[in-house]
């Protein structure tokens, strides 16, 4: 659970910075930040499940 929370915090912080610097309007910043956050979370979970089945 701790690892998931840390990953969520990491994705949120990265999403805030990427969204803020990459777009100009508040709506665009929010949507892009949300997209980056979702991408980090989804890729993190997919990688975690792949690594779970690797026996070393």
């Amino acid at each position: 659970m701790r690892h998931f929370l840390v990953m969520t915090a990491f994705a949120a912080l990265a999403g805030i910075v990427f969204g803020t610097v990459a777009k100009n309007s508040a709506r665009e910043q929010f949507m892009y930040g949300l997209k980056v956050f979702a991408e980090f979370m989804i890729i993190g979970l997919v990688l975690a499940w792949i690594l779970y089945f690797i026996p070393f």
């Binding site: 912080l13 910075v17 803020t20």
Partner: protein, 141 residues
């Protein structure tokens, strides 16, 4: 339409100063340009990342030269990432705070998250620094 060369040559001194301010203190480059909302978001994210890194037991990197041969150079990339934290890294370096880690600290389950957060805090601040530079150079609003 301007070329990349024209944009680079056209960057005023103010843009370099804003970039330096943004590197030195996260959010300061935007704050000085009246971009309060951006300053709040960027400085908040970078500082939270930096403080959380230490809270999780992380440590900073610096080039010591004590490692044998070329392996000493492995300290350089993470040091450059940490250096992105600006004044915070310099203060830690002057006080020799946060560079070493004991066995107890290394045994923490969040130890590796910690130094990763510290690296990422610096890298995110580099992005914020470039953003402050671009705004001051009028390449973006």
């Amino acid at each position: 339409m301007t070329t990349v060369d024209e944009q680079t040559e056209g960057a005023p001194t103010r843009a370099w100063l804003m970039g330096a301010a943004a590197w030195l203190v996260p959010g300061l480059g935007h704050l000085l340009q009246g971009k309060w909302w951006r300053a709040l978001l960027l400085s908040g994210a970078v500082w939270i990342c930096f403080i959380a890194g230490f809270q999780m037991g992380g440590h900073l990197f610096k080039y010591t030269g004590s490692e044998p041969g070329l392996s000493a150079l492995l300290q350089v990339p993470p040091m450059i990432a940490n250096l992105g934290n600006g004044l915070a890294y310099i203060v830690c370096w002057l006080w020799d705070y946060g560079f070493a880690h004991g066995e107890q600290q290394a045994a923490l389950p969040t130890f590796e998250f910690g130094w990763t957060f510290l690296l990422v805090a610096g890298l995110l601040n580099y992005l914020a620094m470039l953003d402050a530079f671009d705004i001051a150079a009028r390449r973006k609003s």
